[in-house]
């Protein structure tokens, strides 16, 4: 898998699709009420900030994924432990997203299909695409991205023409002060979905163009932030913050309001498709990161790990909680307590150790 080279545009689209993921459809940042869109935007800026840290590591080790330089920086045994932890969190992330997505799909469209089957289909598709390689995944994401942006355009036009948008619903801006917004950002917003880019620590070395690689992910984060923020804005102007807060899929409710004469009435299915696509890319990227981490750690071929990982993801995702409510609860706690360790703490340690080593090795000869 060493010879994979993903073009910058394709990498951008992969990051964008990963970021949009489920965040486009589900409720994000609603602790901030009608200022959710501001919270999302701030979260996105924080995400970019975090990424500048990752870029430092990338510049030091442009040819190694996280699993490679973690061992280079921390030494073999400790590094191996860290990489194992990352592999576990990647598998867990894939499992969680798969569970999220399947549960949402069962709720939104497939009420009578067993969730296990829905999840199995998802993981099978991801496995197939990953078997074809990361490059194929990225190039697929590009085509799908165009499709998603087209859906976005259609929905926007429909909302504008249907006259459901009421701009007064977002006023007064920051009416309750900055505090709820800041709280929302700190609690979970920077993490979901923007902090999740830590997966790309595993994929960064595969970018074909190393010079511009540094800018690709942050710009994708920014684009994703703008799109999600815009979606939240539309949701709030159409539904009002009160309804958005209580709705599991605000975009679904928003779109169902759109109607052009009697013909185009319910375009919910477009939103469901967005959800499916989003979940697919989230699961696929986590899954891919996990497979790369494991194959790098144990020196096993990439392709042979796809099926075992799929089985782990499927069952761990399905069995991690007894109900969807418990799953969501767990997810919230993971976002607040577990994910930051992997997004911020460990990379921060890596950066500090690497910088220290770098400093020492540079100062020693002088």
């Amino acid at each position: 898998m060493r010879d994979i080279r993903i073009g910058p545009v394709h990498f951008f689209s992969l990051v964008l699709m990963f970021e949009l993921g489920t965040a486009l459809v589900v409720n994000v940042g609603m602790e901030a009420g009608r200022d959710a869109w501001i919270a999302i935007f701030l979260g996105c800026l924080v995400g970019m900030l975090i990424y500048t840290g990752y870029n430092y590591l990338f510049k030091l080790y442009p040819d190694l994924p996280l699993s490679g330089y973690a061992r280079a920086i921390l030494g073999k045994p400790l590094g191996a432990v860290v990489v194992t932890l990352y592999a576990v969190i990647f598998l867990n992330g894939a499992g969680r997203d798969m569970r999220d997505g399947s549960a949402l799909l069962v709720m939104a469209a497939l009420n009578r299909t067993p969730i296990m089957i829905v999840a199995a289909m998802m993981i099978l598709s991801c496995g197939y695409v990953l078997h074809k390689g990361l490059e194929v995944l990225a190039r697929t994401s590009f085509i799908i991205m165009i499709f998603v942006l087209m859906i976005g355009g259609v929905i926007t036009l429909l909302m504008l023409f249907s006259g459901e948008m009421e701009w007064s619903r977002i006023l007064p801006m920051l009416g309750d002060g900055i505090k709820p917004v800041a709280l929302s950002v700190i609690r979970s917003n920077y993490m979901f979905p923007f902090g999740e880019v830590f997966c790309f620590l595993m994929l960064m070395p595969y970018i074909g163009d190393k010079k511009r690689a540094v800018w690709i992910v942050p710009s994708a984060i920014l684009a994703a932030g703008l799109i999600i923020s815009y979606t939240a804005l539309v949701n709030i102007t159409v539904l009002g913050s009160d309804m958005v807060e209580r709705s599991p899929f605000p975009l679904l409710s928003t779109v169902s309001k759109a109607a052009l004469s009697d013909f185009i009435q319910r375009l919910d299915v477009l939103v469901v498709m967005l959800l499916i696509i989003g979940v697919f890319f989230k699961v696929a990227v986590y899954y891919g990161a996990a497979v790369i981490a494991i194959s790098d750690l144990f020196n096993l071929p990439y392709r042979t790990l796809i099926i075992p990982s799929a089985i782990i993801i499927l069952f761990s995702g399905m069995l991690d909680s007894r109900s969807f409510v418990e799953h969501l609860e767990e997810g919230g706690e993971m976002l607040t307590f577990v994910y930051p360790v992997f997004t911020i703490v460990i990379p921060a340690i890596l950066i500090i150790v690497a910088a220290f080593r770098n400093y020492r090795s540079r100062s020693r000869p002088g």
Partner: protein, 537 residues
């Protein structure tokens, strides 16, 4: 070894003493300087086949010597043999009498220099070469006392004449089509590209059939890497018989399990010529009018020669229609199944009511209905292809009436389903390339099954997997979805949109290599803009 098979059997009918000697000779058969022996060997090797014609005659009047013309009946141009070989050799010019060489071996030179009134002449001193040449329709001239044979190019015999293509028909554009003769086919292309840069390489495939294959490319335009790749894969071919270009196609295409065609084929010389000009490589196989074109991309299967005869806006519209047809072919029935079984809230209410009213009399779920109907349609189509032309009409009448009307009246299928299936069927015919239409038909069933189990979830996942699959395909190093992914703006000139002629550069940049294309294209872009920036600053 292979030639020995039928031969030794023949031999066993003859005297047993001779048999041993005969088979002993087989391995080292050479052209003997004794004419009678050589002729006997040829006869024996071909099992005294009745279509083997041997004409013995004398050359020279003063010191005549024996010669023989050997050819296969039906494979030669008889007029040429009679006029330019037999007649030319047998009439004895007066001055030739004194020039008649003393040494038998010199006779060859004289015959070559003076005797044959034929353009294509070669000397064969190897038995196998001579036999192959004989079996290819050439006339072999043997001279007594000479251990070399003269090969006279008299290939001929009956071929289908150049006629209108039976597939890939256009309204406006050239109406000729390739035929089964390799040489004629090459000529059809050369007549269109009168350039010294058009290079032709000959090779032979099939250890038994010895089929001629010609590799054509434009020396200055063909991608070196692709050409090497094609030659490399051709060199790996090990096959006994090549009866159609598909034999070669299946052996050289990229080894991936996929329904999608990764080698383009055409019956039209103008298409082949256009592809040569775009830097592609054309492979012509003797005995089939379908030539192979490599490398190819998906978009090529949706192009028709018509596009270039029509005005660009009309051509673009036609292209769009074809892309939409492909989408309808892939997704038509499955979207209908998903809508009526999973997402009926999406259907406008009045229409839903009418749909449900139709459903009332029908015992099957939409998925079963669709699969029954599609299967029936496939059977009809298969029957229609092989029907004698006179009966073909009957099939369409029976198909339309029985399957269309009766099935609805009998309450087996809803009328809407008939519409959907008919639309899908027509859409499959709107795709110019038969190969792609077949691939679409197969994939369509997959989508139908996915839609019947998971509704739009199945369709969406199926689409992602399909896009990934097509994305992973390559045709001789060229990404299959080339101008779309890796995306290139220059490539868009001739894909969905056909830009006006004055903007078309005949070579859209869709032949880049998978790894290079993306990078080199983008890099070029940045370095250009970088330069611009610098000069600006």
């Amino acid at each position: 070894m292979k030639k020995n098979g039928p031969n030794s059997q023949n031999e066993s009918a003859g005297a047993s003493g001779k048999q041993a000697a005969g088979t002993g000779n087989q391995a080292v058969l050479t052209i003997s300087d004794n004419l009678a022996v050589t002729l006997e060997n040829i006869k024996r090797e071909l099992g005294s086949s009745p279509d083997l014609k041997i004409r013995k005659f004398q050359i020279g009047s003063a010191k005549p010597f024996w010669a023989a013309a050997v050819y296969m009946d039906g494979m030669v141009n008889t007029a040429a043999v009679d006029e330019f070989i037999l007649e030319a050799l047998m009439e004895n010019p007066e001055d030739a009498a004194e020039e008649m060489p003393r040494e038998p071996q010199d006779r060859l030179g004289l015959v070559l220099a003076r005797g044959l009134e034929l353009g294509e002449i070669a000397i064969r001193d190897n038995w196998d070469d001579m036999m192959l040449s004989l079996l290819s329709g050439n006339t072999i001239i043997l001279l007594d006392g000479c251990s070399k044979a003269i090969e006279g190019g008299t290939k001929g015999g009956a071929w289908r004449t150049v006629s209108e293509p039976s597939s890939q028909i256009v309204i406006r554009g050239p109406k000729d089509s390739f035929v089964e003769s390799l040489i004629t086919n090459i000529a059809l292309i050369r007549r269109r590209i009168k350039s010294p840069k058009l290079w032709v390489e000959f090779m032979k495939f099939g250890t038994v059939t010895n089929t001629d294959v010609a590799l054509l490319y434009m020396k200055d335009r063909a991608d070196r890497k692709v050409l090497d790749q094609v030659k490399f894969r051709l060199s790996k071919i090990d096959i006994e018989a090549v009866l159609e270009s598909s034999y070669i196609e299946q052996l050289i295409q990229d080894k991936v399990f996929t329904p999608f065609p990764t080698v383009f084929n055409t019956e039209r010389p103008d298409v082949a010529a256009a592809n040569l000009l775009e830097g592609r490589i054309v492979l012509i196989v003797d005995g089939t009018p379908f030539v192979l074109i490599m490398p190819t991309v998906l978009a090529q299967f949706l192009q028709s020669t018509d596009d270039y005869s029509l005005q660009f806006d009309i051509a673009t519209l036609m292209r769009l229609v074809r892309y939409v047809s492909l989408i309808i072919l892939l997704l038509g029935p499955s979207v209908f199944i998903a809508l009526t079984t999973f997402h009926y809230e999406m259907v406008p209410t009045p229409m839903l009511i009418s749909l449900l009213a139709q459903r009332e009399n029908v015992p099957f779920p939409a998925a079963i209905e669709a699969i029954i109907m599609e299967a029936a349609f496939e059977i009809l189509r298969e029957a229609g292809i092989r029907m004698p032309r006179a009966v073909g009409q009957t099939v369409s009448v029976v198909g339309a009436l029985i399957l269309g009307m009766a099935v609805v009246e009998a309450g087996i299928i809803t009328p809407v389903m008939v519409i959907v299936v008919a639309l899908t069927g027509i859409a499959s015919f709107a795709i110019p390339s038969y190969n792609l239409a077949v691939a679409g038909r197969i994939v369509r069933f997959g989508f139908m099954i996915a839609a019947s189990m998971f509704g739009f979830y199945g369709i969406t996942l199926g689409l992602i997997v399909l896009i990934a699959h097509v994305n992973s395909l390559q045709s001789f190093g060229t990404p299959y979805l080339a101008p779309f992914s890796p995306f290139s703006v220059r490539g868009q000139k001739d894909t969905v949109v056909r830009v006006p002629m004055f903007l078309v550069n005949l070579r859209p940049n869709k032949l880049g290599h998978m790894n290079d294309n993306d990078k080199s294209g983008k890099d070029k872009g940045t370095s250009d803009s970088g330069k611009d920036g610098q000069t600006g600053a």
